[in-house]
Amino acid sequence: MSHWGILVLLAALVSLAFSFLMRETPKERLIFGIKMFLGFVAFTLIAGWIAIFIP
């Protein structure tokens, strides 16, 4: 499995669990889950790009 695939899988599973842990209604869970998933992926990509400049 590629690094990208592992990242997406981890982000999806963790976001799914946290959406049920942290929110009560289906609509809130959906919004929270999507935000968390995108946050995971975006932060990792940004951190990866920053890491290029770190010797």
Partner: protein, 137 residues
């Protein structure tokens, strides 16, 4: 002074909380199943089980207090302590000799991370079952 029915109700509530937390620890989602929170049970079972299965398939390591290598260092000991939260999966993997880890494999670190994350999420699931059993949520 607490009346007899009130004392019995409190005892029932206490045992309900205990059973829910124990089941949630033993099998992810089982505590919520006991509390009749079916969607919660399904989601927690699926997410924690998937994390564990992928972690094992990626040849990650489950640091365990039951294994001799748990005392290699402070961080390994912390990971082993966290993995206690995996409950039944922890005991099952220990019994079957799974998740021994192979540091030479490219995905070793990823697999180990999946297993530790699964354990920590299951810990939160146990706390969630505790809240549901108390009627806080």
């Amino acid at each position: 002074m607490i009346s007899k029915p009130a004392a019995e109700a409190e005892k029932d509530q206490f045992s309900r909380i205990g059973i829910a937390c124990f089941l949630a620890w033993l099998v992810p989602g089982a505590g919520h199943l006991y509390l009749r929170k079916y969607w919660h049970a399904a989601v927690y079972f699926f997410s924690v089980t998937a994390l564990v299965v992928v972690g094992v398939l990626l040849q990650g390591e489950m640091h365990s207090l039951l294994r001799a290598n748990s005392g290699e260092g402070f961080l390994q000991w912390l990971a082993a302590l966290g993995n206690v939260a995996l409950g039944g999966y922890h005991l099952l993997m220990q019994a079957l000799g799974l998740a021994l880890g192979d540091v030479t494999v490219r995905n070793y670190e990823y697999g180990t991370t999946f297993i530790i994350v699964a354990a920590l999420i299951n810990l939160l699931v146990v706390l969630d079952a505790f809240d549901h059993a108390r009627g806080v949520k």
